[in-house]
């Protein structure tokens, strides 16, 4: 077992990068037993590891399968550590994103990667899943008091469903209240502009950069 906090954080980060669920579980439990601050353990261990995994993904050393297994290890650690967060850390108001695949499409790997990377970057994410009607994005954004609506699709046939979300916000006079961002295979910056979305990203790491920009936090 790691001798001190710093080593434990490093080992936890390595467990995430190494896709080692058992090791992540063991180290998260160890942090709890030693009474190490849960927030710091998450930030310097799990989030750090997922950040490194994201960099390996960007440099094409990791691909989607590896990134998914890294996130499995991260979520195992999060599940153990979250109940031990101090009340002020747990209740901290965080920038909130409602995300989903638009109606008519069930390809959700891209959306899942964006969710994972956003959560790993400290954002609050409500994942609606796939094949989601436009109205549900709007309703959820209102009820959750979200900041961003993130829409994904891999199919050209469902691109118009993205415009529908924007139109519904317009019609309800809510367009200014939420930022709408779009992404997925057939989506281009020109398309995003045409439907009056607030942003477009071509990869999960870039989606995180985009949300950080919208949230006004340094990338």
């Amino acid at each position: 077992m790691p001798a001190n906090e710093t080593e434990l954080f490093q080992a936890l980060s390595d467990a995430v990068v190494g896709m080692d669920e058992d090791r992540a579980r063991e180290l998260a439990n160890e942090a709890v037993e030693r009474g190490i601050d849960a927030y710091t353990t998450i930030e310097r261990g799990l989030v750090d590891g997922m950040g490194r995994a994201g960099e390996l993904f960007e440099s094409e050393e990791y691909f989607i399968p590896e990134l998914l297994l890294c996130s499995d290890a991260m979520y195992i650690g999060l599940e153990i550590l979250r109940p031990h967060l101090k009340v002020e850390d747990a209740n901290q108001r965080r920038f909130k994103v409602v995300i989903g695949v638009v109606e008519g499409d069930t390809h959700d790997i891209g959306k899942n990667l964006v969710r994972i990377m956003l959560e790993a970057s400290g954002f609050d994410v409500i994942d609606l899943g796939r094949d989601i009607p436009a109205q549900r994005f709007v309703d959820t954004a209102i009820s959750e008091n979200a900041d961003v609506i993130a829409l994904s699709t891999l199919m050209t046939t469902t691109m118009d469903a993205m415009a529908e979300v924007v139109d519904k916000l317009d019609a309800a006079n809510l367009r200014e209240r939420f930022k709408v961002i779009v992404g997925g295979g057939p989506i281009s910056p020109a398309f995003a502009k045409r439907i009056h979305a607030d942003g477009y990203a071509n990869s999960a790491p870039n989606a995180v950069k985009l949300v950080k920009q919208l949230a006004g936090v340094p990338a």
Binding site: Y62, F63, L68, I109, T157, M159, S188
Partner: protein, 358 residues
């Protein structure tokens, strides 16, 4: 405005022999857009081989391109093995649920019977009918989904890619069943007089690594290509998204032509594998063909020609992937017209040339 002097079959034959042709071969990959030609709904294609054939033949006759591809979606084989597919009223079908949800259930899967299961009989009927109608003048291909991609529809993509790292032998088991099914279907396709055309979307390095492609994609594709070659046909292989780092491996499967997505660069493909394979591509189906203007389509075609017209094994001007259903006819016409204007030997307007070199 067709001014073609050769039929597609004559053009490909002459091009392959290095003889004079009237223009480069051109294939806007028309899938369900064919429904718009005959005023049908996309869902009308379900189970109706006659309608699929009539629509595809009518689309070919309307635009004058060089290959007919009998295709509605990538799920046909997985559906015939138990995956659930949702058919919207007038849009392309999508996967509703995989056939199985655990490794234990793999043993319950069986290769599909192409003459009995799902929509395979309808597709075979469409192939046979299209070959009868226009097979003497144009190559009719039948869409065949690659084993790795079908495996992803059988157990779910996320499950499959996790298994690659956690339980590789389960993935091989799935791919093996999908391959058996694909071989039986390929045989049935060949029996109609049609040529199987391979798509293995999930093998893209947008999803898996080159190393994973080498282990889980390439061997199964190679066996399919070998099988088709034994039957005397050449094979086109399409993999969506990013593929640059697997072009060598895609060529190693023995495929005769690689269809390159617009997420990759034709010029680079020419440099890397153009001495081994013909290239096909790669005008963006959504950004240019669906959303662009005819003049943007023309410019995109010229760009492809500039980059790869001198490909040692030849070039087919094409869209980077299947066209969206609502692609404007004017843009498909513009693709063909641009290729006709450029002619053969290729001639691109001097002004454009200068702009490009600057």
């Amino acid at each position: 405005m067709s001014h073609d002097l050769m039929t597609p079959v004559q053009r490909f034959a002459a091009y392959g022999r290095g003889e004079a042709i009237d223009r480069l071969p051109c294939v806007p990959i028309v899938g369900n857009t064919a429904a718009r030609i005959v005023g049908a709904k996309v869902s009308d294609f379900r189970g109706d081989g006659k309608l699929i054939a009539d629509a595809q033949v009518a689309a070919y006759q309307r635009f004058g391109y060089d290959v007919i591809r009998i295709f509605t979606d990538l799920y046909t084989q997985a559906e015939a093995m138990g995956a659930r597919v949702h058919y919207p009223d007038d849009e392309t079908a999508y996967l509703a649920a995989p056939a199985i949800d655990s490794v234990e259930q793999i043993r319950t899967l069986e290769p599909a019977d192409p003459h009995k299961d799902g929509n395979l009989p309808a597709h075979l009927q469409a192939m046979s009918r299209a070959v009868d109608a226009v097979g003497s003048e144009v190559v009719v291909t039948g869409a065949l989904t690659g084993p790795f991609t079908t495996a992803s529809f059988l157990i779910g993509t996320e499950t499959l890619v996790r298994l690659m790292l956690k339980n590789p032998s389960a993935v091989h088991q799935l791919c093996e069943i999908a391959l058996q099914s694909a071989l039986d279907y390929a045989k049935a396709i060949l029996d109609t007089g049609c040529t199987p055309s391979l798509t293995d979307a999930m093998c893209s390095t947008t999803v898996i690594s080159p190393k994973q492609f080498r282990e889980f994609g390439q061997p199964y594709l190679t066996r399919l290509v070998d099988f088709i070659h034994v039957h005397g046909r050449s094979v086109t292989l399409h993999i969506c998204g990013k593929t640059r780092s697997i072009w060598e491996q895609m060529s190693e499967t023995g495929a005769d032509c690689l269809s390159i997505d617009n997420a990759a660069d034709l010029g680079e493909a020419k440099e890397m594998v153009g001495h081994r394979v013909r290239l096909m591509g790669n005008v963006s189906p959504s950004e240019i063909m669906l959303e662009g203007t005819p003049s943007q389509v023309r410019e995109a075609v010229r760009e492809c020609v500039r980059k790869a017209h001198d490909n040692p094994k030849g070039l087919i001007i094409a869209s980077g992937c299947s066209l969206p259903v609502e692609t404007p006819f004017a843009n498909i016409d513009a693709m063909l017209d641009a290729v006709r204007e450029i002619g053969w030997p290729v001639h691109i307007d001097q002004e454009m040339e200068t702009a490009w070199k600057a």
